[in-house]
Amino acid sequence: MTRNLMLFAAVAMLFVLTGMLQSWNLSLSILTMALLSAIMALGVNMQWGYAGLFNTGVMGFTALGGLAMVLVSAKPVAAGWSAGGPGILLGLFIGAVSIAAAIFAYNRLPKGRMRNLCVTAIVIGGFFLYRAVFDPSVLAVEINNPATAGNIGGLGLPALVAWPVGGLLAAAAAWAIGKTALGLRSDYLAIATLGIAEIIIAVMKNEDWLARGVKNIIELPRPWPVQYEVNMQQSDSFLAFASTIGFDPVTGSSIIVKLTYVMLFSTVLLAVIWLSERALNSPWGRMMRAIRDNEVSAAAMGKNVTARHLQVFILGSAVIGIAGAMMTSMDGQLTPGTYNPLRFTFLVWVMVIVGGSGNNWGAVLGGLLIGWLWLIVESLGPLAMRGITAGMVDGPLKAHLIDSAAHMRLLTLGVILLVVLRFSPRGLIPEK
């Protein structure tokens, strides 16, 4: 126990040192990202640590959370919605119904050529019907003021509402994936989730009607207690407050904004940890670990392995989705082009494994530590490389080395992952 506290204290020191040696602004912005990563790591830990499910689609669930933020909180685009919104919904509904009908027919009809023909006919017919309803509506939405809108818009609700919706969206996607890929061999789930994440990003990049694709959605509202720096700098009470403490109002306001985020995210993080700890130490948690450690014997004890896997897969993905929505609400914009699997999937995996899979506190520690490392290397890497190459003559090689310092983090992370897996496979805070 004291060892764990020491580890957390050490990580806290890292943030304090960053604040003192570099800047508090940097330290706090790293901390907000690290807290978000810790929440995602908790989600992955549920899937991998409790149940042994290998989900490589973290990026996709994160992005779905961001999408929920846009659909719930972005400003409504009335003209765009009335032009084609209902049509798009109807089209999607037709698509979903035809898939459901195909699955129904596949399950109910007797095996044979008849069944194959029926299923194929339903799928093909459904596809053309879907395109016939969907395409004109999309066109109608996208020609509505394409320079600034061209999408169906959001509901204009507060950002805090969007967070749970992000969880729900991710959970729905996880249900669909889990239904198809769980129950097969373990690495098939990895490949399937890797694929679905890429598809989610492709949809978000290309479906302009949804969230303007790569044209991005900006000016998303901030979550409730967080203020805007500009407003603070114009308020007299804040200026008076800043002058009594002796802070520069510009730096001060941005630090206060970041502190609010830190508090907000910490609240969510603590709530998720509390719930996860309760779940892990309940009969349900013991059952999950029993299933993870020996599926056959757990099944023999009458546990429904596939259903439990599906359940925990959905729960973990929902947590990731909430964190994704929180991230987008902090960024204030949705930029599908910035999602890449190394940053949003595999980095989170490294956090879980380094921290200690199966242990919630371990996952949080890993999230904070690796989150700090990932972002600090971004600012220190080129600096360090300049130091290393200081003795070299100026030339293409030196320039190349300095440019490529950013790629050092991949290499570093890979080495960290392999070293931890090899020499301390249970992580910094092992499972009890």
Binding site: G52, F54, F127, T180, A181, L184, R185, S186, D187, Y188, A190, I191, A192, L194, G195, I196, E198, I199, A202, V203, K205, N206, N340, P341, L342, F346, W349, I353, H400, D403, S404, H407, M408, R409, L410, L411, T412, L413, G414, V415, L417, L418, L421, R422
Partner: protein, 337 residues
């Protein structure tokens, strides 16, 4: 009659030839994945980046040769550099096996752990590639561009549609045939190949009959590295080299290997073509071909494209899911558990 021929030529030009070349590249990639799976029994997520690594070394040698004025006539200089790429990649994967994978093999670790370990290797390889050659798009094809150009074809046949075959496409298909022939000869006829197949079928029995497992594993890595390099270079010649694209090739390659049946080399080749042709056919705009085939009044006014090319990744994914649900062992019987 003329219209029918034109439609056929358009089909060949836009669907068949690109699909054949892409399918050969995927087949070679899937062969590497399937070999590793058959012998070492895990899904190697680092395969895409192994391809990138091999291609990178090949590109570096190509540049070096070009700077010395060495070229291969009408053929791309990269072909001369490929052997060096293969050697470097083989050494690299043998090194990772010695440093990383061997430990887990001796422990008989679960396949999922090996997959995560291979992710770590992916990070490192990806980092090395980005560090050395950067993240930009790099084209390194030189030599003659076309075996038959569309213009020549039109003048020779008098058809309205042209058929272009790029040198890189011809090389891709030829090389793939040669490599596959070599691989099958190796697996069927040589002693090492036979011991590899025995090892894949039943490890314990193979060990009992005195097969040296270390040697089998080493040969497997060398073959997988060589095939990854060749597949990567062919893909890079045909399109272009970009580190991140190679990572993304992982999905179609795995789809190909699983469609054919993991661990089954013939299946990997068949799977490569199934995935490639589905991808090209689903994302091709059929308007041109249809316009020739149907009476004028029926001519489509839209592109007649089932999915936009941005979603080609969805195609391999869908195939993968269907196969996993309907026939988890793949078209040809592979290992399912």
């Amino acid at each position: 009659m003329m219209d029918g021929l034109n439609a056929l030529v358009a089909f060949l030009n836009f669907v068949f030839v690109p699909g054949l070349a892409y399918g050969s590249q995927l087949a070679l990639g899937a062969l590497g994945v399937t070999l590793i799976y058959g012998i070492l029994r895990f899904s190697n997520f680092a395969h895409g980046d192994t391809m990138a690594f091999g291609t990178m070394v090949t590109i570096l040698f190509t540049w070096w040769f070009q700077s010395m004025g060495i070229n291969f006539g009408v053929l791309p200089t990269a072909l001369l550099a490929v052997p060096f790429g293969i050697m470097a990649t083989a050494l690299f994967v043998l090194g990772t096996d010695r440093v990383v994978y061997r430990f887990y093999r001796k422990q008989k670790a679960a396949p999922t752990i090996l997959v995560i370990v291979s992710l770590g290797v992916t990070f490192i390889m990806n980092g090395v590639v980005r560090l050395i050659i950067g993240v930009e798009d790099i084209g390194f094809a030189d030599g003659g561009r076309f075996v038959i150009s569309a213009g020549d074809f039109k003048t020779a046949t008098g058809l309205a549609e042209g058929l272009a075959i790029k040198t890189t496409q011809a090389i891709t298909v030829l090389t793939a045939v040669l490599v596959v022939a070599f691989l099958f000869w190796f697996l069927q006829k040589t002693r090492t190949g036979k011991s590899m197949r025995a090892f894949s079928d039943n490890e314990d029995l193979a060990l009992l009959s005195g097969i040296n497992p270390d040697r089998v594993v080493q040969v497997t890595w060398i073959l997988a590295g060589a095939m990854a390099t060749i597949a990567g270079v062919l893909y890079g010649l045909d399109k272009s080299f970009k580190a991140f694209t190679y990572f993304q090739l992982l999905l179609p390659i795995f789809a190909a290997a699983i469609v054919g049946g993991l661990g089954n080399p013939i299946g990997a080749i068949a799977g490569g073509f199934v995935v490639a042709f589905s991808e090209v056919m689903v994302t091709y705009a059929w308007k041109k071909v249809l316009t020739y085939l149907v009476p004028e009044s029926w001519a489509p006014d839209r592109l007649v494209q089932l999915l936009s090319t941005d979603y080609k990744i969805a195609v391999s994914f869908t195939i993968l899911i269907i196969v996993l649900l309907v026939r988890p062992t793949g078209l040809f019987k592979g290992k399912s558990t």
